[in-house]
Symmetry: C3
Subunit: 346 residues, 3 copies
């Protein structure tokens, strides 16, 4: 299945990209490099030298230009060759540069038509704005197609079965499920009543673990694969009081057809005081366990069982919780088909 190119993807957490080291990362099956200019802005370039196919990640940075580690050619932030140890910089050799925006604690990249790279199209992850929130940042590389990740987060009914001792409980399936589309966004909302929560989960959510609670877990999807979950809990029967819940980010970027970058986060408002920092750090660590030891193996098994096919290629079963994912996939497939229809033949 082709990738959607005209979209914003998270390429890295802001903390991963520096002016001192070159970050190398495959995105939509292309090898890219990332680094910061002396002024702090981020540069994203194709990661292979056009001279002899050397990997530029093996080079070095100098004054905001990357110098190839093989024959010393230097390329600036626009991808133009600006340094040649053996003569004038050749005009014919240049790297492709990619539009990037640094926002919401992340570096976002646009892999499609550069002219279409409008920052206004960025999904709203303002709860990850480092000015207002302490953001715990996590990362996993998962050997599974990105579409499986979208399905996984849009249908959280699985937390009862895949995460029984961490994020789930036996009451999840008895909860209420609702989904709706709001413009291009899809919401997949699960409300669970009368759950007994483990102390590890109840504590940070501010509810007791010795009495039943009511929990809401509301998921928002922006195409292609940028998801947010807003989750909160109150003692059973108590009014929720309009609190939005703690936001977590689940930002997926295809590395290859069979592997996906998973940027996950949990954020607490700085207005909480010093505890926000501590909670961000400890809670993103808490999430790592189920994400890495429960979700990841399941998704990688699905990927192996699909044996090179995408979800679009196969017959799928249907459960009520699949409605939001199915709608998202319809939107995605329409965009893929639209891009294929207008793509220049290469």
């Amino acid at each position: 299945m082709p990738f959607i190119r005209n979209a914003w993807y998270v390429a890295a957490w802001d903390s991963e990209v520096t002016a001192e080291a070159i970050l190398s990362r495959h995105i939509l099956d292309e090898k890219l490099i990332f680094f910061r200019q002396p002024d702090g802005t981020v540069t994203a370039l194709s990661g292979v030298c056009p001279h002899r196919y050397a990997s530029l990640s093996m080079g070095r940075l100098e004054d905001g230009a990357v110098h190839c580690g093989y024959h010393g050619l230097g390329f600036d932030r626009t991808g133009a060759c600006v340094h040649n140890p053996f003569g004038a910089p050749p005009k014919g050799m240049r790297l492709r540069s990619y539009p990037v925006v640094e926002r919401f604690s992340a570096i976002w990249i646009w892999m499609g038509e550069p002219d279409a790279a409008d920052p206004a199209l960025l999904p709203d992850f303002s709860f990850n704005d480092p000015a207002d929130y302490c953001v715990g940042q996590g990362y996993l590389l998962v050997q599974a197609n990105w579409e499986l990740e979208v399905e996984n987060i849009l249908d959280l009914s699985h937390i009862q079965f895949l995460h029984p001792t961490t994020l789930g409980s036996s009451e999840v399936a008895n909860g209420a499920y609702e989904w709706h589309q709001d413009g291009e966004q899809i919401w997949s909302n699960r409300d669970v009543y009368g759950e007994m929560m483990r102390p590890e989960l109840a504590g940070p959510m501010g509810v007791p673990s010795d009495r039943p609670v009511d929990r809401w877990i509301h998921t928002r999807w922006d195409a292609p694969a940028n998801l947010a979950i807003f989750a909160g809990a109150v003692p059973a029967g108590q009014d929720r009081g309009g609190a939005p819940g703690t936001p977590t980010g689940h930002l997926f970027t295809p590395a290859t057809q069979g592997s996906t970058h998973y940027f996950y986060s949990i954020a607490f408002p700085r207005s909480m005081g010093p505890q926000a920092e501590i909670l961000a750090r400890t809670q993103v660590d808490f999430l790592k366990m189920p994400f890495e030891t429960e979700d990841l193996p399941m998704l990688e098994e699905q990927q192996r069982n699909l044996a090179g096919r995408s979800l679009r290629d196969v017959k799928l079963g249907w459960l009520p919780g699949d409605a939001a994912g199915a709608r998202a996939r319809n939107i995605l497939y329409a965009r893929i088909d639209a891009e294929a229809a207008t793509a220049p033949s290469s």
Copy 2:
């Protein structure tokens, strides 16, 4: 080369399948799961959930049904969905179930037309009947096509060269070789005279190691790849007295085109008393060494040298000992062609 589907294959030793854990195994390139019902009978089902391609081996067992570890769907012994945490069990989603028979200490599976799965077609491995014999059970997964395994056991002339210090001796090539077909079975018989045997081999065979002995090694093949060897020895020149010899089983089941399950066994009659149990255990351990460190590397090298081709695709040399194997392959190819001619186009 296509697999033969309408045949009994060993899927597992009886001891491998329990009511407590799910056994996952690839057979004829399909991912299957095996477990026991509360009544002890064995269930074999396709191992991938039709809902979202999760591996059911990551699920759990409850009352003879397997429950998917992703969204909790439960499937009974027939493969029907009988449990859905989110509503009525959907009729459209079901697993494929496979006919199995538990006999001769093994679980046999039929991968072809279920209606044709006649237990009367099981090959006779009554020497592995746990009621009468103590059966030592061994298992190896070999990265080689099953056909190479059939050739290996049907031509035991190799024991002189591949197993010189364990199963073979320098006299094997001087022995007599005879083969014949008996109905659908092929016999490949080797009689060796005047061998000096090592104590490790002579002892369990009940002959001295300090004097020459006469040994018979008679191999029986049932299609596709279920072989028995009956071997015995007497002091040189002495009458064999009609003893059939110690039976070993060599039961091969294709995992994929390039890998094969090797179930091997050695059996001693319970009528021997407590020694039967000890001999079964120690002798199956003794066999592990040559099978794992001598046969396995040779077969895996052959597989690499064939580079994706089957024996049917290549020119082979011819030695007298190849006659039985050649006849077996002709029978196998005829069955493969017959199945291909009648298979529904998929």
Copy 3:
């Protein structure tokens, strides 16, 4: 890209091939075996038994014949089957034998038409003649196509960037570059003036490390991939005096399309006395570091970035130092095309 078959390739260093053990090595994607006869001459044979595709490297040597470890067939130095434990040696089964020449401390093999295997076509590596030189022998298996290796050695401008702390210096790019073709040979010559050399490099080259030196590094190529570098240095401004420089060999032999045997050497004349032996040993060890930890990773990254394409398939950039390599590639492609035009269809 097809291999050039009608050419001499180094198959092994002389010290690697003995009468006691079978050396197994892939060359031009064929599995070959090498061993010595009792008279010391080297035999090269196809490495797969024609009987059942066993690897002959798992066999044993007896009187200059290789005996298969599976069923005992023996093949002599011509590849003819000369031993069959079960009857007369079958005429139809034989191994392919390959012309080999032992010269310049190496075993050279001819993979093409045997009649064309003229030792007069061997490239001149007389500086590796063990009668006159102490030859330090090194070996690496590199996961990169052989063509990348040719380019690497024909354009040594990279030593400034890839080997800054071992073989290079910041003055390399400022040096003079000249290339020319001499018959079928190509020379790529680099002269660097006023370099400060590190003691590790200066010492063995016989120049001071505390004053500038002039260095010459002249590379000679013989098709397909046999290269020599003659390098020397004198105090800056001093006359070179006609000294040829220390010779190093860079002999590349395709193992597969994506992997190459790299035989490298450094030689010192025996006329130097006992120091020649010590220098050969220590200097070949010194070279191992940059070759293994700097060139090899770069070449393997190039190979991955080419993703199955050869340099002939892709657009390349152009720097002045590429002229010699480009000429060499033109000669190579002409030979590949010529062999393809005359090859029997197989």
